[in-house]
C-alpha cells in the first residue's frame, strides 16, 4: 500500500533555506534529482521494451504468423491457383519480406528496441500492432485516451471515496479512541485482506444474481439510453458495484491505518503539552496533529493518485469494464509492444514528476526537512 511507503521521500528532501548558497544548493539538488529520475525512467522503459518483446522472442512468433497467414491466403486464392508449389512458396516469401519491411521486422530487434525507446521518451507513441480503438484507430494515443475516461471514472471515484472517508473517519475515531465504533474499526480491519475483485464476485452474486437490483457488468446498458439523463443513470447503476468492491476492500484497513497514524501523532509530547496549556481540542487537532502529519498525507495522496493510471486489471475483467486495465491485459496477451510501452512510459513520467514535485512540496509543508538529511524519522 502506498500509505506505508510514503515517508521515505523525506529522507532526501531539500530545504528552501535562504541565501544564495541555499538557492544554489536547491538548484543543484533539483538537477541531480531530475537526472537520476530520468535515468531511472530510461532504464525502466528499456527493460519494459525488452520484456514486452520477450527479449526479441516475439519477433519470431510474429514472423511465423505473417508467413502462415500469407500461405493460407495464397493457398485459398483462385488468382494464384495456377502456380506451382515452389512458385507459391517464393511468392509467400516475397510478400512476407514486404510485410516484414512494413512492420520494421527486417531490422534486428536490438536496433528497433532503441527506436522504441527514443520514440517513447518523446511521447511519440506510434501505432498499435494488433489492437484498435473502438472508433477504429490504431494510434496508441487515441486507444489510450479512449480507455482513460472509463478507468478514471471507476478508479478515480473509488479512490476519492476511499481516501477522504478513511481519513475523516479515522480522525473522528482517533478523537473517540476506545469507543465502540473505534473497536469495531479495529475488529473489521482484517477484512481488507481480500483484493477488490474478490469482493466484486461477492457483490455480483448478491446484488446482480440474487437480488437483480444492479447489472452484472459493463459500463452502460446495451443499447445505450438515448437521453443524456438516462445515460447518466445507467452509468451510475453500472458504477455502483465495481466502486463498491474497491471501497470495501480498502476502507477497513484504510481507516485502521490512518487511525493508528493519527493516534501516534496525538501521543507526541508536544500534543500533551498543548493539552496541558488548555488549548481547545479543535485547535490541537488542526495545529498539533494535522499540521505535522500533513506531509505524510500529501505524499500518500499523490502516490496513490498516480497508481490510478492503469486501472485495476482484474476488477475490470470481472466487471467487464472497458478501461485501461483490460486494454493492458489484452495488449500483453497479443504482445502489442507499442501499447505496453505507451502505457508504461506515461506511468513512468507521472511517477517521476510526482516524486520530484513531492520533494519540494515536502520542503514547503514540513519546515523540519533538511537537505540530504538522513535522520530517517520512522512512522
Amino acid at each position: 500500500m502506498a500509505v506505508s511507503e510514503a515517508p521515505s521521500i523525506q529522507s532526501s528532501a531539500p530545504t528552501a533555506a535562504g541565501g544564495t548558497s541555499g538557492v544554489w544548493r536547491v538548484v543543484r539538488y533539483a538537477a541531480t534529482r531530475l537526472v537520476s529520475l530520468f535515468l531511472t525512467t530510461v532504464v525502466g522503459v528499456y527493460l519494459t521494451i525488452l520484456i514486452a518483446n520477450m527479449g526479441g522472442h516475439v519477433d519470431e512468433i510474429r514472423r511465423a504468423t505473417i508467413r502462415e497467414e500469407l500461405g493460407t491466403f495464397i493457398g485459398m486464392s483462385q488468382q494464384y491457383a495456377h502456380l506451382t508449389p515452389s512458385q507459391r512458396r517464393e511468392l509467400v516469401e516475397q510478400l512476407a519480406q514486404v510485410e516484414f519491411r512494413r512492420l520494421g521486422l527486417d531490422q534486428p530487434f536490438i536496433v528497433r528496441s532503441f527506436r522504441y525507446l527514443s520514440n517513447a521518451l518523446v511521447l511519440n507513441l506510434g501505432r498499435a500492432e494488433q489492437l484498435t480503438s473502438d472508433s477504429g484507430s490504431s494510434l496508441v494515443r487515441l486507444i489510450i485516451l479512449e480507455r482513460l475516461a472509463p478507468t478514471l471514472l471507476l478508479t478515480g471515484s473509488a479512490f476519492l471515496i476511499l481516501f477522504f472517508v478513511s481519513v475523516f473517519a479515522a480522525l473522528a475515531l482517533s478523537r473517540n479512541y476506545g469507543g465502540v465504533l473505534d473497536r469495531l474499526a479495529v475488529a473489521l480491519a482484517p477484512l481488507s485482506a481480500a483484493p477488490s475483485w474478490f469482493y466484486g464476485l461477492f457483490l455480483i452474486l448478491i446484488f446482480a444474481a440474487l437480488l437483480r437490483w444492479l447489472p452484472f457488468g459493463g459500463m452502460v446498458d446495451a443499447p445505450p439510453p438515448p437521453t443524456r439523463w438516462g445515460y447518466f443513470v445507467s452509468l451510475v447503476k453500472h458504477l455502483i458495484l465495481p466502486v463498491g468492491s474497491i471501497v470495501l476492500s480498502g476502507i477497513f484497513v484504510g481507516i485502521y491505518s490512518w487511525r493508528t497514524f493519527f493516534l501516534i501523532y496525538s501521543s507526541e509530547d508536544y500534543v500533551d503539552m498543548a493539552r496541558a496549556k488548555g488549548l481547545s481540542p479543535r485547535v490541537i487537532e488542526r495545529r498539533y496533529i494535522l499540521r505535522p502529519s500533513l506531509p505524510f498525507i500529501v505524499t500518500s495522496f499523490a502516490l496513490s493518485l498516480i497508481t490510478l493510471w492503469g486501472g485495476s486489471i482484474i476488477l475490470e475483467q470481472v466487471f467487464n469494464w472497458p478501461g485501461l486495465g483490460r486494454l493492458f491485459y489484452a495488449a500483453v496477451q497479443f504482445f502489442d509492444t507499442p501499447i505496453i510501452v505507451g502505457n508504461t512510459i506515461v506511468y513512468a513520467y507521472l511517477l517521476a514528476i510526482t516524486v520530484f514535485v513531492l520533494d519540494f512540496v515536502y520542503a514547503l509543508v514540513d519546515p523540519r526537512v533538511k537537505v540530504g538529511g538522513s535522520e530517517g524519522r520512522s512512522v
Binding site: 500500500m1 519494459t48 480491519a189 482484517p190 481480500a194 452474486l205 502505457n343 530517517g376 512512522v379
Partner: protein, 447 residues
C-alpha cells in the same frame, strides 16, 4: 525468549488473536488431513480428470447437505454395478455355446426431484462375436419401458437422457424425467418406490460375459458439489488448503526476510550499495509486473513455484524496503551499534547480530499479515491465466466457476466454497497479524 513468552501470554487477552489462531489451527489440521489421506500425485491425476475418471459423478451438482434444509428432497447419485451385485446376475446356458445373462439392478428412489441424467455403462468380454443386450426399465407401478437394444463392444456408454428416440417414446420427455415421472400427475412429479433395470444379454462364445453399471446422476453430490467436468470439488478444496498455506507461508517468509536483509545491508554500508538498492526500488516501481510474469510463464515455466518466486523477488524491491530503511537508519545511530564498532565487530556481525534482531519485533506481525496477501495472490494469478496448470487450488476453482458462468447459472456453491475458504484464511492470518502488531510494536501498544 522470555519476552516472546510474555508477549504470547499477552496475545491470549485479545479475542481476535485467539479467533485467528483457532482458524489457522483448523486450516493446518485440514491441510495435514489432505496430505495424509491422498498423495499429491494422485490428487493431481484426479484433478486433471482423464477419460472415465469422473464417470459416476453428476455435472454441476450442488452439495448434498443442502437436502437438510429443503422440504423437497433432491436426489443424490446412485451407482449400481453388476460386478458388485452378484445376486442380481443369473447365467443360463442355452446350449450351442449360447448363454443368456440376466442382470437385475433394483434401486430405491424416494426423492421429490428428478435425477440429472441416467447413464448405462456396459462392459463385455468376448473374443469375436459381439454380445447382444436388451434392457428394460421397470417402474414401481409395474410399467416396463424398453430402453436399450444393441450389440455391445468391449465397453459402451448409453446416455439415456441424450437418446432422442427414447425421448420421443417417452412423450418428448428426456429419460431423466420420462423414466421417473408419475403417469397420473398433471405436472411432472417423480414416482417414489423401487425401480429396476433389467438387462437380458446373449453371449455367443464360451467364457464371454457382460456386466452393467447403471448411474442415476443426482442433482446433489458430496460435501462440496461438483464442477462442469464432473470433478468432486471437495478434492480441490481439501488439497487447496496445504497448497495455500505452504505457499503463503514460504512466500511471506521469503519476501519479508529478504526485504529486511537487503534494507539492513543497504543502510549499514551506505554509499553506492544503498544508492543501488534505492535505484532498483525506483526502477521496480516503473516495471509492469504482469508482462514480466507472462513472459516467464510463456518462455520458461508456468509452475506455481516459479511464478510465485518471481513475484516475491519483484516484491522485495518495493515500498517495504523504504520502510525498513527508515527504521534501520535510526538503529544504525544507536549507541550499542557504536560500542559494537568500538570493539571492531565485522560488518556482517553488526548487520546480523545487532541490527536485524533489533527489528525482528516489527517483522513478525508484518510477516503474518503478508501471508493472506500471498494466498490471495495465487487466486489472482489464476484469474490472469497464470495459475499452475496442474495443482488443484482454490483460486483455480474460483476462476473456473467465474469463467463458466456459475453466477449466471445459479451454481452459487461453486463460487462460495473456495471464496469462503480464501476469506477464512485471509481473516485468520490478518486477525492474528493485526493483534501481533499491537502487541509487538511498542509504538502501537495499547492503541
Amino acid at each position: 525468549m522470555t519476552w516472546l513468552a510474555s508477549n504470547l501470554r499477552l496475545l491470549g487477552r485479545y479475542p481476535s488473536a485467539v479467533a485467528g489462531l483457532v482458524v489457522i489451527l483448523v486450516l493446518v489440521a485440514t491441510a495435514i488431513y489432505a496430505v495424509v489421506s491422498m498423495p499429491l500425485t494422485e490428487a493431481i491425476n484426479l484433478w486433471r480428470g482423464g477419460e472415465g475418471l469422473w464417470q459416476d459423478t453428476p455435472r454441476n451438482a450442488a452439495p448434498a447437505w443442502l437436502n437438510l434444509f429443503r422440504r423437497e428432497k433432491l436426489p443424490v447419485t446412485q451407482v449400481l454395478d453388476s460386478r458388485n451385485l452378484p445376486a442380481g446376475k443369473k447365467v443360463e446356458d442355452l446350449g450351442d455355446g449360447l448363454t443368456e445373462i440376466r442382470i437385475v439392478l433394483p434401486f430405491e428412489f424416494n426423492y421429490d426431484g428428478f435425477p440429472q441424467e441416467v447413464g448405462v455403462f456396459t462392459y463385455a468380454t468376448f473374443r469375436q462375436a459381439r454380445p447382444h443386450a436388451t434392457m428394460r426399465w421397470v417402474t414401481p407401478d409395474g410399467r416396463e419401458i424398453p430402453v436399450v437394444d444393441s450389440s455391445l463392444r468391449s465397453s459402451d456408454q448409453f446416455r439415456l437422457s441424450q437418446d432422442s428416440r427414447l425421448t420421443r417414446r417417452l412423450r418428448n420427455q428426456p429419460a431423466d424425467v420420462g423414466l421417473f415421472a408419475d403417469p397420473n400427475a398433471t405436472t411432472p412429479r417423480p414416482l417414489k418406490g423401487t425401480y429396476q433395470l433389467v438387462v437380458e444379454g446373449l453371449v455367443f462364445e464360451e467364457g464371454a460375459d457382460i456386466d452393467v453399471k447403471l448411474v442415476v446422476y443426482g442433482q446433489l453430490h458430496g460435501l462440496a458439489g461438483t464442477d462442469h467436468r464432473r470433478r468432486d470439488l471437495m478434492l480441490a478444496l481439501l488439497w487447496g488448503t496445504p497448497i495455500a498455506l505452504i505457499m503463503g507461508f514460504v512466500a511471506a517468509v521469503g519476501a519479508s526476510l529478504s526485504t529486511m536483509l537487503i534494507a539492513a545491508i543497504g543502510t549499514w554500508y551506505g554509499g553506492w550499495v544503498d544508492g543501488l538498492i534505492q535505484r532498483i526500488t525506483e526502477l521496480n516501481l516503473i516495471l509492469p509486473v504482469l508482462p514480466i510474469l507472462i513472459m516467464i510463464g510463456t518462455l520458461y515455466s508456468r509452475s506455481l513455484v516459479v511464478i510465485m518466486g518471481l513475484f516475491v523477488l519483484l516484491s522485495v524491491f518495493s515500498g517495504g524496503i523504504k520502510t525498513y530503511r527508515a527504521i534501520f537508519l535510526q538503529v544504525k545511530e544507536s549507541p550499542y551499534i557504536e560500542s559494537a564498532r568500538s570493539y571492531s565487530a565485522s560488518n556482517m556481525r553488526i548487520v546480523f547480530r545487532y541490527m536485524i534482531p533489533r527489528v525482528l519485533p516489527v517483522l513478525i506481525p508484518q510477516f503474518v499479515t503478508l501471508i493472506p496477501s500471498f494466498v490471495f495472490l495465487e487466486a489472482t494469478l489464476s484469474v490472469l491465466g497464470l495459475g499452475d496448470p496442474l495443482l488443484p487450488t482454490w483460486g483455480k476453482v474460483l476462476w473456473e466457476a467465474e469463467a463458466n458462468g456459475a453466477v449466471f447459472n445459479g451454481h452459487y456453491y461453486w463460487i462460495l466454497a473456495p471464496s469462503v475458504l480464501l476469506l477464512l484464511t485471509g481473516l485468520g492470518f490478518s486477525m492474528l497479524g493485526f493483534t501481533l502488531d499491537r502487541v509487538f510494536n511498542p509504538r502501537l501498544r495499547g492503541l
